[in-house]
Structures are given as C-alpha cells and as structure tokens.
C-alpha cells in the first residue's frame, strides 16, 4: 500500500478512533484496489466504482436535492472524474473521502452552472423524505426548509466555504477529513467553516419560523 501509515490513520479517523489504536482495522479497504484501478484494471475500476459511487450519490443528492433532474448526469460526471483523478491520487485521504469531495465539487459546479444559465428547475425543490426520524409534519417541513436554505447558501458563498460547509454539515466530515481530502491545513478548514457556519446561522436567524424552531430545541 502507498503511504500505508497515512492511509491507516485516515481510516481510523473515519471510524472515530485515535490513530494506531486498532491496527487490525487501520487500512483503507479500497486503497489496494485504487492502485489497481489507477493502472487501468477494468475489474478494479468496476469494483471501486461500485463501492464508492453510493457515497458519491449521497453527496450529489445532498447538494442538488433529492428530486433534481441532473443527479444522474452529475453523478456520472463525478464517477468519471474519480477514475481520471486516480492517476494522481497519492492516498492523502481515503478513497471514499476523495470520491465524495469530487462529487461535491461537481454538484456545486452544476448548481452554479444551472443557476447562471437560468435553467434551474422548479422541480429541484426539496422533497419530503417519507422515512424519517422527524417527529411531526411541522418538523419535517422545517427540516426541508433548512436543507433548502443551506443549498441556496452554497450558491452565494465562495466555493471553498461552500465545499467545507457541504462536507461538514451535509456529509458529516470531520475537520481532519476535509483537510486531508483537500490537502489543506486543518486551520484553514476551521476558518472556512467558522465563516460559513456563521452565515448559515444568520440566514436561519432571519427566518422567524426557523428561528423559533431552533430556540425550542433543547
């Protein structure tokens, strides 16, 4: 494995464990196959894509919205981007995080492209998830509104802040995971997150209903 220790520590962080605590699970399970895929092994590429694309689909859905008509195209574009980028991938992060970052950047670019071309569809609205942990229809709708608000925020924030916000807020990446995937210092990620989160808070503050819901939370 390339940079075995680094990859192992990335995988440990993914599961929330301190580095080197559990050597048995300290390997990115996709690291070896990514090397074979980068060398053009068709079966390796198939297996890699089948393993990573579900997480990339989740990322694309998060950015575009569950019912967006462009999901398939953007996911395909992201998967192609992953296959192409494998040649330069040096194992700085797990393959999964690497692929998700590509998907997020592709989806953010697609959002801005659609908006600028005036082709954004009304059908891109937030959909209500049927299977949800939300307790009531009110919470369901408010959660949908908060998600829509974050997506719209991504259109106006600088792309680096949008990326950090999406990776952290939508996909649950830690600061270290974002830093590794983007090859940037953790403090840069924290700084971007701080600004983006503050903007999100201000936007929610400006909506009385969302503000009220936030205050009523324990």
């Amino acid at each position: 494995l390339r940079d075995g220790i680094l990859v192992r520590n990335m995988a440990l962080r993914l599961v929330g464990m301190p580095a080197q605590q559990d050597p048995a699970s300290a390997v990115d399970p996709l690291a070896a196959i990514s090397i074979a895929a980068a060398q053009g092994d068709p079966q390796a590429i198939d297996t890699l894509l089948l393993s990573v694309t579900p997480a990339m689909l989740r990322a694309v859905r998060g950015v575009l919205g569950g019912g967006h008509r462009e999901i398939e195209d953007v996911l395909q574009e992201s998967a192609i981007g992953l296959v192409t980028a494998l040649k330069t991938f040096r194992g700085e992060s797990t393959v999964l995080h690497f692929g998700c970052r590509i998907a997020v950047l592709s989806a953010l670019a697609a959002r801005r492209r659609l908006r600028e071309s005036g082709k954004e569809s009304l059908d891109a609205r937030e959909e209500l998830p049927l299977i949800s942990s939300e307790g009531s229809p009110v919470e369901l709708v408010l959660a949908a509104r908060r998600r829509a608000l974050l997506r719209e925020l991504c259109d106006s924030l600088p792309i680096a802040q949008s990326e950090a916000l999406v990776l952290h807020c939508m996909l649950g990446f830690t600061v270290e995971e974002i830093a590794d995937a983007g090859q940037i210092p953790p403090n840069t990620v924290r700084s971007r997150l701080r600004v983006a989160k503050e903007t999100l808070r201000a936007r929610i503050d400006a909506e009385p209903t969302l503000r009220e819901a936030l205050e009523s939370r324990p």
Binding site: D46, L49, E120, L128, P137, R146, C169, R190, P208
Partner: protein
Amino acid sequence: MTALACPDSLIARSRTGQLSSVERSQLHLHLQRCEACRVSLLVGRDFDAALAAQSDDTLFVSQVVRAVRSSSAGGAQLSRARPSRSRRRVLMYGLAAALLTSSFVVGAASPALRRTIGVFFGLQSISAPPASRGVVRSVSKAAKVKPLASKAESTLSVPRESAPSETHALPQRAEVSTTTESTPARDALSVKTLFAQANARRRSGDLAGATKLYQELQQRYPQSREAEVSRVTVGRLLLERSGDANLALQQFDRALRNAGADRAGLDEEALFGRASALMRLGHPQDERRAWEQLIQQYPDSIYAARARTRLAELVTAGHGDGLGIFPAQQ
C-alpha cells in the same frame, strides 16, 4: 469562546454516536454557548435524515457504472466493446464482491464502526418499508432519481372533496364526508393520537395509510392545529409522490382559507405548494397570481427566487399582464 475553539470534529462524530461520555459533556457545554454550532448540528441531522440510502440505489449505481465504462474516460481504460456476457458477469461479481465486502466489514466491526460505516453509506435507514421491498422500478431517467415509488404510493388516493373550480379561487369549506370509516375505536382517538398515528404511518412509508388518517383527522377535528398542519403536509405528499395536483391543490386551498389558523409558520409552504400545483395543472393565470402572492407576503422566502424565475417564464410565455407588481429579478 473563540471561534477556533468550535469542536467541529466532535459535532461530526456526534452524528454517528461515537462520542465518549467526556466528549459528549464537552460538546454539550460548547453547544450551550455557540449558536452557530447548534445550527450546524441541527442542519446536519436534517441531512442525515434525508440522505438515507434508497432501496433502488443499487440499480441506479450499477447503471451509472455502466455508463462510465462506456464513456470516454472509462473507455480509455476499459474496453469500449459492448458488454459481453463475461463482462456483465464481472460487473455482477464486482457488485456482489462490493456488497459482500461491505457486509463483512460492517458485520465484523465494532458497534461504533458499524454505525460509522452505516451512516456514511446511508445504511442506517436502509430498511425499506414493507410495501416497498422488492419493488423493481422502471429505469427511465426521470424515475431513476426519484425516491422509491412503493406500491402504497402508486395506489395513493384520497376521496375527492369537490370538483375543482375553474378559476381556482379558494373554495368554500367542504362538508365533512360521511363515507369515512368510523369504528368505535377510531371514535375514541383523540386528535393528538390520530395525528401521531398518521405520522407513524408516514414515517414507516405507508403513504396511503398516512394520508387516510390525515384526512380523517381533518374531517373529525377540522379546527385543530394538527388538522391545519396536516393539510400542508398532505398537499405536498400528494403533489410530489402521487402527482395528483388537483387533490393537492384542494389541500393547499383549504390550508390557506383560514387566515387566523395556527399552522406553525407553514403558510409559505402552502403558498408554494399551491403555485406548484397550479403549474402542474396548467393554469398559468392562476399560477402567476399565486407566485405573486407568495412574493408579496414573503419577499425574503427561500421560495422567492424560484417564484421570480417562474414569473419570468410565464411573462415570456405571454401569461403576464404587464402590470405585475413583482417583476422577475433573475
């Protein structure tokens, strides 16, 4: 507390239930003082709930992988030839291997690791509702990206309250239907119990059952807050899941009729839903007025940009009267 001290990684890990008791205490203390982090966690959980894997994702993913293989990037490394039987077999083996590997990793891992992997792949809520299991959907592009259409959804219907009016002015309140099933047990249900049962049905994926209970709630307790709220929810579910814009419009109209009702701030959704339903029904003049009403009442709404975009489209299509007080801004 300085901004740099925000424990973003703790927040991320808390969403997968991986925090120790000490870390939970640290996070709790921080959240009490930092509203930006409270918002971040709340919105993060909103997305956790919405981005759960759907049971037709495997089919969707395999189609994308096939498309990538035949694309220029994939084709540069993979054969451009039409997939042969052996190729398809390789794909199936690959899929099986990936699923097997995932299952093994998840199964063999510690509970915390299982949670992490599960959440990362959206598997925590992957268990589909009984009605939707085993459903194989058509693979048209439009259908592929939509949430699972279960049997329950496809048969979703609610009693029609009245024939739609031609001008779609807000209709008068319909009389309580006498066709609703009324058993002694149901009669004993309080409004809150009925509401909770409807919500439980909705969360389990039984959309038809949930809609029926919401309708019953509206008929039995038409003035209750729960009934007011349920009209918006049922309207959106009808519009987005069953595609019955006519019935959805009735729900939104009824929701908006009582101006003083407590709808927990859902009027924006009702107005947005009403305009969307009119768009689906192809009533451009009524639709234009609905969008204008939304912008007039909620100029800073998250739906305002879409409303302006749609108004511009309507004007371009010749459905504007040239006197609109809310000209398109985008």
